[in-house]
Symmetry: C2
Subunit: 410 residues, 2 copies
């Protein structure tokens, strides 16, 4: 069963809004056995939208649109779909009452809001528990058409609560597994698994190059989940054996999660001292729930003064070597380690750009130190890129280095 | 001139990778007068890719693909485009030498890497200064077809350095301007600018609902840039007058930039004390270059112990009211304000979830305090959502509140 996601809106096609909806829906659909082969975005133009719907109905079985269900005049998804399929729209009185209830606190409800109470014949509403625009579920011939609102917060809740339970059971089961490698290039990985790629017809194996390594992705399709699982497990064992020390994660579990688990397993607490990344490492880490088991504080010391006052970096070191130096990075690290309650510390200092500091050291020069009471390592890095990408890459780099440090020292 | 972006790769269509390429390209194209009406993603399947190219050639003038230029066997974009257009591929010896040079450090270069040296007849290579896969620029009849690599770091540099200078001058000029409002709903905004929307045929005015407000976007199309500019400026003045106190930004300049500029203008320094957001506010702020003028340090105090040790929150307060309370949030704030070198401070404490703390207060309960030496305000919030969305929303909320605080008090 082929699925297609259609994102409707000029804000998407002109690059005002990043399209996270297609990503979310495709990813979720795969888990329920529906494979997305096409994603299409089209601007708010009735003729082009009609054509896009025509093309989708021709090549896909399940069509999910997002956007264009709002209260404004250029929200035309429902109207266009109804028109293309020659189906009538009629006002649903229940829905109208609900909208009045929801917007009751405003004195005058703009007339356009009641467009959202219109229902396509033979379809049913999908409840919106976050905003006012209900979704639409419609079966037409052997095709299923689902219209969802554009705002991700509304769409995601509706998708999980209202769409998934409505999807017909799929005879074809899909199962996927990824193996994440670091410290090796994509084409070398592919060479090493040439035989594995071709081993089973019903298991597709593909490699994807990532910034910090390579993902080997396996997708199995068939009617028997057990058989698929056994085959994928077999391939995984083969891959694991060939890349032992390179495998760091499965199913794209992010490196911060891997680090979290390693810390927890070794009963370690960690703290960060960040200069040019300004809390980015800490905030990425703290996205995870339960993090208090391994983390209790961090320091963002952007200025020289704050490095001295919060982390006891000496003025002499700052004057002789500069804030971006091995020496400062080590003193920042010691400053954190000398606090109570941490076993492991990481410091980051560098020049994220776009301009250098007074020392004229190059933009992209970064020092990362990692250490515990007994051992300290410092890495000097030179990254290309803009401020944002340098900040992102050093945080990623630091997380991979923390993993190595724990594996080597505990 | 209608543009279409085609993103090729199963990692996109199955939701493994977020498609930032279409977003980046559409946005950049608009600045050069090319309007993207369609974005299409298709999986690594030759037949479907061919069909997608056929559809794009039928409806669009400029077609830019990303992905499928890598060294692996499922990278088939160049081969498929050449095949569909009946054009030959031939090995370019210069490019082959460059690849050997680039990959020389590896002992055995996998044979597949040399696929990247193949050139479609009548096309030219676009230089890749970041990775090994060169792009392709091809004019075919009155259509322009451009093939770019998938990794954003490679694609973005190539797009800016190699694609933009190659694009033919466009007779139709496009000019855009956005006005960002906060504290008002989308349909009310639309009602209030009904006449403005219809004022000029060549200026399209549309509204987009955002989490913290509404964007009014104006796009002008025509042959004379001056005329368009005058009309857009006229509309902007009208809109500014109607929504005086609601306008906080233009052209989607992010709230952190607005806050940065307000701080700079008032010669103020700010510091943050973050618990449940773990450095997210700080890191968002520090993405901006030149930030040292208004910022020198921040504290991530996740545990009770760290709140006491770093910010002097009293044990009594924590015991009587809990870490998530107005009282703790104010003491965190005072703790920051009592440090040197800050005029303004912000503290955030709350329960981002997914579980509550020992007090069983609800997930999503957040206290944000903002203050200076003379005045403190505290806001109590109750957000729905998951951990990540709660963290994001409170950071956004705090930034809007900082803006208000500065406007009201300086």
């Amino acid at each position: 069963m082929k699925a297609e996601i259609i994102s409707i809106g000029t804000e998407i096609t002109t690059g005002s809004t990043l399209n996270t909806n297609s990503y979310f829906i495709s990813n979720s659909l795969l888990e329920y056995g529906f494979e997305t082969t096409h994603q299409t975005s089209v601007d708010d133009n009735i003729e082009r939208l009609k054509k896009v719907i025509e093309i989708a109905l021709d090549r896909s079985d399940l069509i999910i649109t997002t956007g264009g269900l709002g209260p404004t005049e250029d929200d035309l998804t429902k109207e266009t779909v109804a028109d293309y399929l020659n189906l009538k729209l009629k006002k649903d009185e229940d829905m109208k009452r609900k909208i009045i209830q929801l917007l009751g606190k405003y004195k005058n409800i703009p007339k356009n809001n009641f467009k959202q109470a219109n229902l396509i014949e033979n379809s049913k509403f999908l409840k919106n528990t976050v905003g006012t625009a209900p979704g639409i579920y419609l079966e037409h011939g052997d095709k299923t058409i689902i219209l969802l609102p554009g705002p991700p917060r509304e769409m995601e809740v509706m998708f999980l609560n209202e769409v998934i339970p409505n999807l017909k059971k799929n005879d074809i089961k899909i199962i996927k597994k990824s193996i994440n490698l670091t410290g090796i290039g994509e084409s070398l990985v592919e060479e090493k698994i040439k035989d594995i790629i071709k081993m089973y017809d019903d298991i597709e194996v593909a490699t994807f190059g990532k910034i910090q390594g390579v993902e080997i992705k396996m997708i199995g399709r068939g009617s028997d989940l057990n058989i698929l699982e056994n085959k994928i497990n077999h391939l995984q064992r083969l891959i694991d054996t060939r890349f032992t020390d390179k495998v760091y994660s499965y199913n794209n579990e992010p490196i911060e999660k891997i680090v979290f688990e390693l810390l927890e397993k070794n009963n370690l607490k960690i703290s960060f001292a960040e200069s040019c990344t300004g809390g980015l490492l800490s905030s990425k880490f703290i996205r995870q729930s339960g993090i208090s088991k391994v983390f209790d504080r961090s320091f963002v010391t952007y200025s020289n003064k704050s490095k001295m006052e919060e982390l006891n970096v000496s003025e002499e070191t700052l004057l002789s070597f500069g804030a971006v130096s091995k020496e400062t990075s080590i003193e920042m690290l010691k400053g954190v380690l000398n606090r109570e309650d941490t076993d492991l510390a990481v410091s980051i200092t560098g020049i994220a750009g776009p301009r250098s500091d007074s020392t004229n050291k190059p933009v992209g020069l970064i020092y990362v130190s990692i250490g515990n009471a007994n051992k300290t390592i410092t890495k000097k890095l030179e990254f290309n890129g803009n401020r944002r990408s340098i900040q992102d890459r050093v945080v990623d780099y630091a997380l991979f280095e923390i993993r190595k440090f724990i594996l080597n020292n505990y």
